[in-house]
């Protein structure tokens, strides 16, 4: 009866054809980005780790767009020389790309904002109104293949340094709000550069504490990155071996953002494991450790590999379901120095809301479920509501597949302040 009523209401509300669901991983997918700090302060190192999967099993290395200080200096020199990297025929002002010391830049006006170190910086910090969209004009440097190569850092993870200030290179071509990050304080930098520090700025709402923002862009491309001038959207492409641009099922371009506060921290959500069909799965991996695990899928029901029988029903909707529920404690150990063993809520209080408006909100938390076989009943489940609190009904069900073989399940836990962690489990479906 309930199902009939639900279907009736869905019919009445009007639907379209069913589309691919986010929980079904059958293309190139980024499933999560873990950060060692989702709230950080100036100068902090932060490691970003990507959880990704390619259903076709291609050998892909994620690319992060960041620059060493030395490279940032080069980028700045190119911009200061009013070089147009996309010009056809090539802009002679861009010759300094081959000879950085030959680039324009008046060394007599004080220090450059960057030192020749390998410390990595994000390309974008404190964009206007702290939106990712404003960062894309910075990433137009990716239009030039040389700069793009410079700024591309391969790997499943990357460690960046939170800038201390932002500077505006002296260039006629740059919009007024265009800035580059720097690890130096403004009083160390020459007058040629307009400079803002500290990295935290006053928000539009004066009640809010000063904060900054930092964006790290990345790409997951099984081919070769390229760039085309486009009239809408963004021009970064991923080209196959024929030079054709791949679509969004085979190429992911995205960003991860962290907020910068002097004195406010945010702990990552804590996940302890996962249960399938009500059983603990000891072989599951949690968080960045999943990146170091052998990615090989199980070939049989051996050892600790959870094992299930294949669905033999002709209609997928009649296949049996198993419960999937990560083990997420409502209470966790607080980080304390005196070893008192105190516990805190996994869903932390929202300190910013408390400081600014004296509101006792918790973090809003949710879980995304993914699988490469079968079908998840829910794509997203609420874990903690900011006002009503913990929701223990955060598990979902997985409908077993109709084909035998390995089965991989992920559960990624989020809080609404950028904190993220995950658990992954491999199972096997036997005949």
């Amino acid at each position: 009866m309930k199902k009939w009523l639900a279907l009736s209401v869905l019919a009445l509300t009007g639907c379209g054809a069913e589309l691919e669901r986010s929980s079904e991983v059958d293309t190139v997918r980024v499933l999560g980005v873990h950060k060692t700090k989702s709230y950080a302060k100036a100068g902090d190192p932060v490691t970003f780790s990507m959880l990704w999967h390619d259903a076709d099993g291609r050998d892909i290395t994620p690319t992060w767009f960041a620059a060493t200080e030395a490279e940032m200096d080069l980028v700045s020199r190119v911009l200061e020389s009013d070089c147009d990297p996309t010009a056809e025929p090539p802009d002679p002002d861009c010759e300094c790309l081959a000879d950085p010391d030959g680039c324009a830049g008046d060394d007599n006006q004080g220090e450059r904002p960057w030192d020749p170190t390998d410390a990595l910086l994000p390309l974008c910090a404190n964009p206007p109104r702290d939106t990712y969209f404003e960062c894309l004009q910075l990433h137009n440097v990716l239009a030039d293949s040389t700069l793009r190569a410079l700024a591309s850092k391969p790997g499943d993870s990357i460690t960046l340094n939170v800038p201390t200030s932002t500077v505006h290179p002296p260039s006629k071509l740059l919009p007024q709000e265009f800035v580059l990050p720097s690890l130096k304080a403004c009083d160390e930098i020459g007058d040629a550069f307009a400079c803002n520090d500290p990295i935290y700025h006053a928000p539009p709402d004066p009640n809010l504490p000063d904060f900054g923002s930092m964006f790290v862009f990345f790409a997951l491309c099984p081919g070769e990155l390229g760039f085309q001038n486009v009239s809408e959207g963004f021009g970064l492409t991923c080209n196959d071996d024929k030079g054709e641009a791949l679509g969004t099922d085979d190429f992911v371009f995205g960003y991860s953002q962290i907020f910068l506060y002097e004195n406010i921290e945010n702990r990552t959500p804590i996940v302890d494991g996962i249960r399938l069909a009500g059983m603990d799965v000891p072989s599951a991996c949690i968080g960045p450790s999943c990146l170091e695990e052998d990615d090989a899928l199980p070939e049989d029901c051996d050892g600790d590999v959870p094992c299930f029988e294949v669905c033999t029903e002709s209609d997928e909707d009649d296949c049996p379901e198993i419960d999937v529920k990560p083990i997420i404690p409502e209470r966790v150990s607080c980080s304390d120095e005196d070893g008192s063993g105190a516990t805190c809520d996994n869903a932390e209080p929202d300190e910013v809301a408390k400081i600014a408006y004296d509101r006792d909100y918790d973090e809003q938390m949710w879980i995304r479920y993914y699988t490469d076989q079968g079908r998840m009943a829910s794509e997203v489940k609420l874990l903690n509501d900011a006002t009503t609190g913990w929701n223990d009904d955060y598990g979902t069900k997985l409908r077993l597949p109709q084909e035998p073989g390995p089965l991989r399940v992920w559960a990624v836990v989020y809080d609404n302040r950028g904190g993220q962690d995950w658990v992954r489990v491999d199972a096997f479906v036997k005949e």
Binding site: T13, G14, R21, G32, G235, A245, G247, V252, S256, R368
Partner: protein, 878 residues
């Protein structure tokens, strides 16, 4: 549609030369056919008709004055159309006139018993009351002549109350005629029976163009002060298919009103944004007009008298709005008495009650006199949805925890005092309440910010008094005051919106008849409110900017404001009947908005010119052709959030719009009119958003726009059988968000909008109606095209953010839909039961409402609207 009547002013007339009038005389009598069903039931009736005679004495139209039902009206009309009279003559010229006539349906009586016959009276009496048509004004001192079949005449004079009586007449048929100065001659055939008093009430119509006649103004029949005023009558409101009898939904069938998506209760009028049109109840602003944004309107249809809709170029009476006006009028409580089987009588002082249930809600209404008072009456009504009874398990099945299922209430109480036709006083209390609370356990995959605890509630209450009176024969006054409370509260996770407003609305308007054909209206309206608003939300994006990313991870800003605002307006206009063809209404309005510190001056002018009068003998039958036009300035203060110190920018000017329109109204037949009107709106100083030098968000008055269109309305005015119309609007609405932004289509632009509807009384309580709509699809912004990716991955929410293509550059497929409605009423002796079946989307067209995408925008599909949707209602009333 504006009525064709020409208004005039009461004045002291100099003694006019008496017109020479020769009444029409019956030259051919056509007997009516007795309705078989009525005859079988032994029913008798008297049908009084208003006949229209042409210059040759032919009956061109016949309309029952008071319907009696059971087929009598139709039989009388059918026969009356075959009557033939000699032409009425006025000053020697044949004239078209309105004439009264009565058909009496009587069954043959059994022969009285012999012993009773000796005592039966041999004479009868005849008399009654004479009133001015369309009013309760008595016609005193008027001679009533009663002529027997043999030509002998007797006469009587009406007293100060319009009463007259003649006694001792021999039984038989008589001709009763009335001939009064300045009024159309009147003749009826009546029956006098022995031992009985034949009592009748006659209403005579004033002569409208006889030179030197006294001019009488009848309230409510003055032409509108606006270029276009569309009025939907109760008969139409109740029967338009596809609206489930919901009054405010019927507005979407009018020209100039665009169709909103799905069930959304938005009014998009002549290419203007929904927030540019306001709705009021008898002049008092109400914050919402639909429950839950579109389910049903907050005032039930049964309590409405009419809806007046001004799509643009409205008079100075309304201000601080640049789109359109919807003014809903509550009805006077019904105290009319009805005889057996619903036959209307002249008696008053009776009570009525109604109960109705349909798929969504149940409602009741009681009305009647207050005690034994003739002047006081009341109406009380209430409604409650019962969707919560069945939707809770459905929501739970879909993964939501239901704390409080969606439910709405509305309630109304009206107290009315009418000591005379010149004075009315009405006090009302009404309100509405919607609320729900659900826990969304399965947040939206595309934005997990839409998950968690959702609460939504809106409520408003009003106490309102309206007082209209005639202070003197040349001065009228209308006063309105309303106080109340509005409350909106919404929360989802950490986002919230909480608004409390305590508004006070006032209006005082005087109408002065300063000379013949000149009336000055002057007034003041005033809206003040103490308000408290708390908003916690991310700032909205700039125009043209792509999606700013999932709400889930956007840090909200919060603003809490308590303040007091007031917006007074002063206005005056002159209704000037320059001559018998030209009417001009110039006016001006001054408004002040304290919240934005803006004063605005808005001059306006409208005009109507009777190009061809009904007596100009241009057409084959008397038909009027009227040209109409207008121009004016309209200002609208910025929205609250646009001047808020956190979210907006202070020191903004009001939005400004120049309206121009030109049109023609043509009477095609007695029942059919056609109206064609072109309109143009030039928008300037529109509030737009942009980034300032430091990248923060500011508003400015740099937006502009242009709207143009053509509206056509072919209307069959309601008669005893049928009403209907064809409405077609062709329009284009463009916007420009400021220097540096390209001109774009307005997001609610709909090029073509065609509505054809009608409802026909089949007889025996059956009525069938249909509505067909063919409307351009809505506009949407597509995602970026290759080689760009369509979306970018936002790691903090785990979802994709679309990269936008050209704003509002893609139009969805055309919308078309057929709705039908079938009504059946059973009239019992003392009560009436009715049922309706309203079926929306009869041929199950899968209309496209939007484009939906999968999680990474690599796939898209059309989101379809509602399939075939039947709605059944049952009502009992007496």
């Amino acid at each position: 549609m504006p009525r064709g009547a020409q208004g005039a002013a009461v004045r002291e007339a100099e003694p006019p030369p008496k017109p020479t009038v020769v009444e029409p005389e019956l030259v051919h009598y056509e007997p009516p056919v007795y309705p078989p069903e009525a005859k079988a039931q032994g029913l008798e009736a008297e049908v009084k008709l208003r006949l229209t005679l042409d210059v040759e004495g032919n009956v061109t139209a016949a309309e029952p004055i008071d319907k009696v039902g059971h087929g009598f009206d139709e039989a009388a009309v059918q026969a009356a159309l075959k009557l033939k009279f000699s032409p009425a003559m006025v000053n020697g010229k044949p004239r078209a006139v309105t004439w009264g006539y009565v058909y009496r349906f009587t069954l043959e009586q059994a022969e009285p018993e012999a012993e009773a016959a000796a005592e039966a009276p041999s004479t009868g009496n005849i008399g009654g009351r004479l009133l001015v048509a369309g009013s309760e004004l008595p016609l005193a001192g008027t001679r009533v002549v009663v002529r027997a079949v043999d030509g002998t005449e007797t006469s009587a004079q009406t007293d100060e109350n319009g009463n007259w009586m003649l006694e001792g007449l021999a039984p038989g048929k008589y001709q009763v005629s009335v001939s009064a100065e300045g009024f159309d001659p009147f003749l009826l055939e009546e029956q006098v029976d022995a031992g009985q008093v034949t009592e009748l009430t006659y209403r005579v119509s004033p002569v409208s163009d006889v030179e030197g006649a006294i001019e009488i103004e009848v309230r409510g029949e003055r032409p509108p002060r606006e270029v276009t005023k569309r009025t939907i009558e109760r008969r139409e409101i109740n029967r338009i298919p596809g609206t489930s009898g919901d009054a405010l939904r019927s507005l979407q069938s009018l020209p100039g009103v665009a169709r909103p998506p799905g069930l959304a209760g938005l009014l998009i009028v002549r290419g203007s944004a929904p927030q540019d049109t306001t709705t009021s109840v008898d002049g008092a602003y109400v914050p919402i007009i639909y429950h839950f944004g579109g389910l049903s309107s907050v005032v039930p249809t049964e309590l409405l008298d009419r809806i007046d809709f001004y799509p643009g170029n409205f008079s100075v009476r309304y201000g601080q709005v640049q789109g359109g006006i919807v003014d809903v009028a509550l009805r006077k409580p019904d105290t009319d008495c009805y005889g057996d089987y619903g036959a209307k009588t002249d008696k008053k002082g009776c009570y009525h009650a109604m109960g109705q249930v349909d798929l969504i809600d149940g409602r009741f209404l009681i009305q009647g006199p207050v005690g034994n008072s003739k002047n006081w009456s009341f109406a009380a009504a209430g409604r409650r949805s019962w969707v919560d009874a069945w939707i809770k398990p459905v929501l739970e099945e879909a993964g939501a925890g239901v704390t409080s299922a969606p439910v709405y209430y509305d309630y109304q109480l009206i107290l009315d005092y009418r000591p005379s036709d010149k004075e009315t006083f009405s006090t009302r209390f009404y309100g509405s309440d919607d609320n729900l609370e659900i826990l969304i356990n399965d947040p939206l995959a595309q934005d997990p910010g839409f998950g968690g605890n959702l609460t939504f509630g809106t409520a408003f209450q009003r106490v309102q008094s309206v007082y209209r009176t005639e202070l003197s024969p040349s001065v009228e006054s209308e006063s309105m005051i309303a106080v109340g409370r509005d409350q909106v509260d919404f929360s989802l996770g950490t986002f919230l919106f909480d608004l409390n407003v305590y508004p006070l609305s006032l209006r005082q308007e005087f109408g002065f008849k300063v000379a013949k054909g000149v009336r000055i209206n002057a007034g003041l309206d005033f809206l003040s409110a103490w308000f408290e608003v708390l908003v916690r939300a991310p700032p909205p994006p700039r125009p043209g900017e792509p999606d700013p990313g999932p709400f889930a991870t956007q840090p909200p800003a919060e603003t809490h404001t308590e303040d007091f605002g007031f917006r007074p307006g002063w206005y005056a206009d002159v209704e000037w009947q320059v001559n018998d063809r030209l009417r001009v209404v110039p006016g001006a309005r001054v408004d002040y908005a304290q919240d934005s510190s803006n004063g605005d001056f808005s001059p306006r002018i409208t005009a109507r010119y009777l190009l061809i009068g009904e007596n100009d003998n241009v057409w084959s039958a008397p038909r009027k052709t009227t040209l109409k036009g207008g121009a004016g300035v309209f200002h609208q203060p910025p929205q609250f959030q646009e001047t808020d110190e956190v979210f907006g920018t202070q020191e903004l000017l009001s939005n400004r719009s120049y309206h121009y329109s030109l049109g023609v109204e043509q009477e095609l037949t007695q029942q059919v009119d056609v109206s064609v009107e072109g309109f143009y709106k030039d928008l300037t100083n529109q509030v737009s958003r942009d980034a300032n030098a430091s990248g923060a968000f500011t508003y400015a008055n740099e937006g502009t726009g242009e709207i143009m269109g053509l509206e056509t309305l072919l209307k069959y005015k309601p008669d005893e059988r049928f009403f209907g119309w064809l409405a077609y609007t062709l329009s284009k609405s463009m916007r420009d968000d400021g220097p540096g932004y390209p001109e774009r289509m307005f997001e609610w632009d709909q090029t073509h909008n065609l509505v054809i509807l009608g409802s026909y009384r089949l007889g025996d309580g059956w009525e069938f109606g249909a509505r067909f709509r063919l409307i351009s699809g809505g506009l949407e912004t597509p995602v970026a095209r290759p080689p760009s990716l369509p979306a970018i991955y936002a790691a903090e929410a785990g979802s994709y953010v679309p990269l936008s293509g050209e704003q509002f550059s893609r139009r969805l497929p055309m919308f078309h839909q057929l709705d039908v409605r079938l009504d059946k009423a059973w009239q019992f002796r003392t009560w009436r039961f009715s049922a309706y079946l309203d079926i929306q989307n009869v041929y199950n067209n899968a209309a496209v409402e939007a484009t939906g995408y999968n999680y990474n925008f690599s796939q898209s599909t059309y989101q379809r609207g509602l399939p075939i949707l039947p709605s059944l209602g049952l009502r009992g009333e007496f």
